[in-house]
Symmetry: D3
Subunit: 337 residues, 6 copies
């Protein structure tokens, strides 16, 4: 079943210093264009759906290059508006082993997307088209104007019968100190959402739940059902990542649905580029839901999609369903442990 997924969010220009250098050491940057919405829309295209991006890009060479990049990813671009003057950007100094990556953002307040006023007609068109609307906490945090438009859009899609997929993506630095503010908006989204991407940390830090448990698995199993019930959310999913001493990672994915947890785990794996891999997980869950996989299959698929996204250059997941299935088969059968 091919569905229309609309991701509403910002496009960022990613500039990575070549050869693992620091900005003060290098002189060349590799650039590409991404963003949570971009990553989800592109991943869904690779799974055989129509992935749309609803955003605004500046009508200058940076915006045009971003637009061409969206086309290259196979993203449907009829909902990409041109206007405004700035493109969001970030610089990446990729870490190595125990040296962590450093990300430096430019000011996003004035970005084309964040300053956009989308017309009612435009929002209606989106709602008309969307089988699924994907949103994330970064967009929610950007500013009052874009937040209200996001809310209006969410209500419209809901009304038309589309699914709402919300990725918490909580970034404390984007919210004012009085974090009650974040909580209020997150709660509003949670009441509307059909699928929420989160884990126990979001319950603790954003929603201000409390728990006596110390182990993250116990915290998860205690808090997620409370959240699901409180906000009436049919599907909640997320991951726990473990970093091993040899610098490989492993992932445990969970899916909470119909009052029960399903789990799947990857073997340890080497990481080429971690950024955006969470969006691969989201896309795996969305694809699982849309193609009516069993919960176990779905979480297995999603966590493997996330793993493979860590082995690909750049933020945007590029694996197909076949790639993921054969990775699952491969590590279930072949490797010596």
């Amino acid at each position: 079943m091919m569905a229309n997924i609309i991701a509403f969010g910002e496009v960022m220009m990613r500039m990575e210093v070549a050869d693992n250098r620091l900005l003060s050491q290098g002189q060349s940057l590799h650039y590409s264009f991404s963003g949570t919405g971009v990553n989800v829309a592109a991943a869904m295209v690779n799974f055989g759906h129509q992935g749309y991006l609803a955003t605004r890009l500046p009508r200058q060479p940076l915006g045009q290059a971003a637009f061409a990049f969206m086309q290259k990813l196979g993203i449907q671009h009829q909902f990409i508006k041109m206007g405004g003057s700035e493109l969001g950007m970030y610089f990446l100094e990729k870490g190595y082993g125990r040296r962590p990556s450093r990300v430096t953002y430019t000011e996003r307040k004035n970005s084309s997307f964040n300053t956009a006023i989308f017309s009612e007609a435009y929002l209606n068109e989106l709602a008309e088209c969307a089988d699924v609307l994907h949103l994330c906490g970064i967009t929610l945090a950007m500013g009052e104007s874009i937040r209200q438009q996001l809310m209006r859009l969410t209500h419209k899609v809901k009304q038309k019968g589309g699914l709402i997929c919300f990725d918490c993506n909580f970034r404390p630095s984007l919210w004012s100190e009085e974090d009650g503010e974040a909580k209020r908006y997150y709660e509003e989204m949670f009441h509307l959402a059909d699928i929420v991407m989160m884990n126990e940390k979001d319950a603790l830090l954003t929603l201000q739940y409390e728990t006596a448990a110390h182990d993250r698995r116990q915290q998860l199993e205690e808090l997620i059902p409370q959240v699901a019930e409180c906000y009436d959310i049919p599907v909640i999913a997320g991951t726990h990542r473990t970093v091993h001493v040899d610098n490989t990672h492993s992932l445990q994915g969970f899916l909470y649905k119909e009052s029960s947890f399903s789990y799947a785990k990857t073997p340890p794996f080497a990481v080429l580029d971690r950024i955006g891999s969470g969006d691969a997980y989201t896309s795996g869950i969305l694809h699982g839901e849309l193609s009516r996989q069993s919960p176990q299959e779905e979480v297995q698929f999603a966590v493997t999609a996330c793993m493979l996204a860590c082995t690909i250059q750049g933020d945007t997941p590029l694996s197909t369903e076949d790639d993921i299935v054969s990775a699952i088969n491969q590590y279930e059968n072949d490797l010596q442990r």
Copy 2:
């Protein structure tokens, strides 16, 4: 005679798409850090002076990389403050032959430099140190706060007996429509300046002079003496650039001083990177003034510095006095015409 030259202005991160590609074609950028003040300070260092930069850079990896770059250029950095959050940036898609270069700026309003409030003590230190203060029209255009600080600094330096060198660098896009505004500030600077870099276009467009002459040389010879007299400016200098059909350029430099014009001309030359070459001309004039060259030597030196700057990658002039002298000798003797 070695002098202390202080350039007050913004540092920009320059990002150039590799291999003459457009932003939509490429995936790598070469980056460096420059700015009118950077270029002049560095050029003066190469001529044997102390070149200082007075600016502010953000305390994050971009700002630190810019700081390291200033050090590499040999610029004195005790007047570089760290603070604020944004670094000015521009993207360069280098043209080729008849395809012009395209430059895309990011928003500069919020840059570290443009939002800086420099203390009175700091401005006094600058004034104490400066034999020459270099300023440019871009800084003048940036915003009310930085403009007032610039003016205050200029008065202080003037008082201490330092020379004021002002480069018109008029960018219409940086000024509001009612260009009387620009005129007012330019006039204020002209009254203070000892050396002004400009040509007849600045007289016509910014100062709103008029002339019946059509030829640019005639316009120059009519208007520059009027400007010099009106604002009591000891030295005015500038260039005329000619682009030839074979894509070589040639430059004619002029120097107006003690009521007479001196001229010097380069032979045609191939251009590798034109940006910032005007700052090489300024530096040549400054060095000529400081080292008491004859007007003819000075303009010859400056125009050749400008030519050589067009043959070097990046914005910043890197030629030494020896390089320039031997280029002059070379084209005066050897080439067949």
Copy 3:
């Protein structure tokens, strides 16, 4: 007026040795994907039309990369079929000054496109959609099967009222010795075509016309009207290229329409990448016809599009209508000669 342009032809992988090296000297290649049809379709997109490509690509990583590249260029891809096993390729050792470029093709007989059997339904869809069908002599030369499909398609489009634009693109190496063969097929196309891209050489070498004139302008003015009349072709257009001793080029474009010639000339210009610039000329003529420019404007526009295409990396023209108009204004006003 926005029109649907369908280009029917092969996609080639272009691999260029980096840094002007020979294949035996280098170790890296820049790759991109192009072809006459690709270039025309992409150029028409940049002029505001819908550019479609009708072709077939192999369902493997090379074909998928080619497909993504077509998307990036903004080409409509619903008529791109996936299948077959080989992608056409060529290697480019870019020349320098008096060292000519060398192009090495791989065998194209087995390419996905050349071995495709397009269904009748597919050809009908193309005919239904096409306001203009673009074809070229290279496709005509590839083999009997693809030639017959091309002919069938041409008839269908003609019937539906679409314009046929045929670019002679005669490559002797692709035809058997008995060149009567080429002549026969070219004549068939000429009878169907509304717009033919050619010059006097095609009349002499392919159609075997004769003339006593020696000067190429005289030959052109004698032979093109004969061709137009003989095959009843409304529009014939083409170029003469002159290479100057300083390695700049200049172009003279002509347009023969309603029994009269219009000409336009570029100033000399430096060349970065010449391949594919003829397709920019074709696109300029097509855009001129579709937007009802005067013959003089049209040929001026086309020849300038061709010139700018020579200043851009890669085969595919990327200039917009604005770029071209401002290049025309620029060389009409500014340059010193």
Copy 4:
């Protein structure tokens, strides 16, 4: 003892997408030239022998670049013929961790080598020169004409007293479904060969042996002696590779000779480029045989050669005897486990 080793086989152009990218992500390729025969001949040169390549390359820039590359590797080139039109090629998208590498071949049927008709005189010269003739299953699979020439050559070398070294290298995709075909030709080669590179999988899949054992070591020890006896093969050697969860590999090499097995094992090792490392193993065995090492030394040397080949860019092994010996000493003494 320095021997003449002639490898009879195809040269391939290898094109690897830079920086671990997919073909659809990148825009540059690193190229080099290799092939099983190339790798063995070059490795033998590094061990102090004369390594000859018997092949055919097209007389165009790709073939000339391949020829220069063979020279650079120190391969004797008097048996490299020039002619035909196509060079075999493959594209490599190097995997990362759990993302497997993807290799895309171009059509090899028309390659210069595969369409070559070598003269009787040429084959005689080869036979005259060869102390060892190296052949592989890929060449055997390529087509009837080249297979027959290979067989004729093998008989001639055998007659002159040269050793025949045959590497099974079974690639199912190169053989028709009815795999009895492959079996027939493999058996013919096995009867002639003095040294066969294979493991139990070749016995099972190609020669259609059967076994009740499940463990690969047991299968090996059961089947290899049967093969050796059945076809009267003095030396059989091969490897088992283990991939560990931390993405390191380890290798176990075996050598079956005079009715007994010798084994050697590497410690786990990180892999930079795995392709062609099997050819390093073959070369190690050949060198061991030619220099009369003990079986234990020989298999140790070969498996370490194979390990080091995995740490070098490109397909072709470049280690010297000293490099290998010091790697053996190093891991026998120093590392903490």
Copy 5:
């Protein structure tokens, strides 16, 4: 407390073959400038001190590039003299996994530094300025003239009350066979030094101590106190490195001070560039001494500085105090083992 650290030593040009290739495989080199003294001075700058380099560089483009590089690192350059004609160089073929790195030096006898005659006034200025003087065994080994100057300088600094930090850095290849020679000079330095960087191997090989112990920890604990006592050295510090089978390393650092050992250990870590990381350890110890850290903090800090230096491209450590502290916190809290 900010101190003046003067490192006396040679600047080397480091040229590394790109992409892990061998010199015979590649065609491009990355270059930078380093040296033990450079690394220590730069690391101390990053810790907030004034790092000076006392050396000589040739007055030609290589020397000027080295000078600019020193400036970029923030090193104080007033004690860098220009003169002589050669710059020391080394070529690096970076290893991979079990393939060791290869370093090829050019002749250093004639280098600018090694042939320098520094004036008495210059040495006095150094002594006047230095809170700490850093020297290493490589300089000691270079030749009679430079050695005598080094000794004279050491005595002067000592007299003025500066600390002497001596890094053994014993390179057998730089000393004549009769190693009593090395011993003699090392002993002279040890009598003067306040801080010595060494481990038990230096005691055994250079100073010719003997021990019955086999374990390196036991050897260390037996010999280092003997050395400290014999030469009256307040602080001795060094490291033991362990290479694991998965190619990660771990480090144990020790500090011997006031008759007792302090130890600290890193977790295993991946290594990007190992060269120069010992200088990071030295700098950590120096900073610990200067900022009066406890012995345990100091050795922990130093060993983590060393670990992080292995994750940064190039020889020169670039971590700040904050980077190091947060790495310590990170591996003490977060990682799963």
Copy 6:
């Protein structure tokens, strides 16, 4: 007629800063290996001869990479000895337009070649093999030991009937002030040489001839016949280069033989890499002599070889006889002037 050409001389490692940068600006170098002898030997290989190099290379990675490079060029390497410790090197900062290239050499006194003592047997073998011996003034200047060996070799070749080709290549910086020294050795070579590459400047500066003529053509025509007669040299050849204002060059070649001058001229041409192009001229003359071209053909061929060498990356000429002939035809027929 295929001949054996032996070039006796040094191999240099050439390191060029990427992208036209200065050493102080860049961070990557392209490297290759060349030298006058290398260039001539390789060029002769491309013309169908056997080109040998007689030299010595160090037995370390740099020397081995140089050796592999010689093989790649197709140079016969049986006379390349391994030994010594240093490889000659130079760094190239390529100029642009009016910014001249800068070349920085490392000390060559200690190079493997310059410190070699070739055995009498070796020199005899060379003499036995050589149809032509090529030498140049750089080798003559290197030092007493190598000069005497060169002289001994020259006498031996002469005795065996080989031709002596001597390229003056006078580099004042390599000779002591008292230039009578250079004169003496040059005269010795001139008496032995059959073909001398020089122009009037060598007569004036090295041989200390005098003339009243000012025009270089007149000087040439006056002095070269005197030189030919005085030293009894059958063939003298050389070039005059003209640099035009648009930065193109043109070349005039001359050949003096049997008491008469032949001349040939290239059209102006763009220059990619000028270094080593004189060696292409030498090779053209040698090939002309060996293949008994007419003087006019020979000089035309040589000067065009020289022109094409300026359009190829690196020092070493790579054009074939066909490339040169078609360049001649091309500029005689096609270009508009």
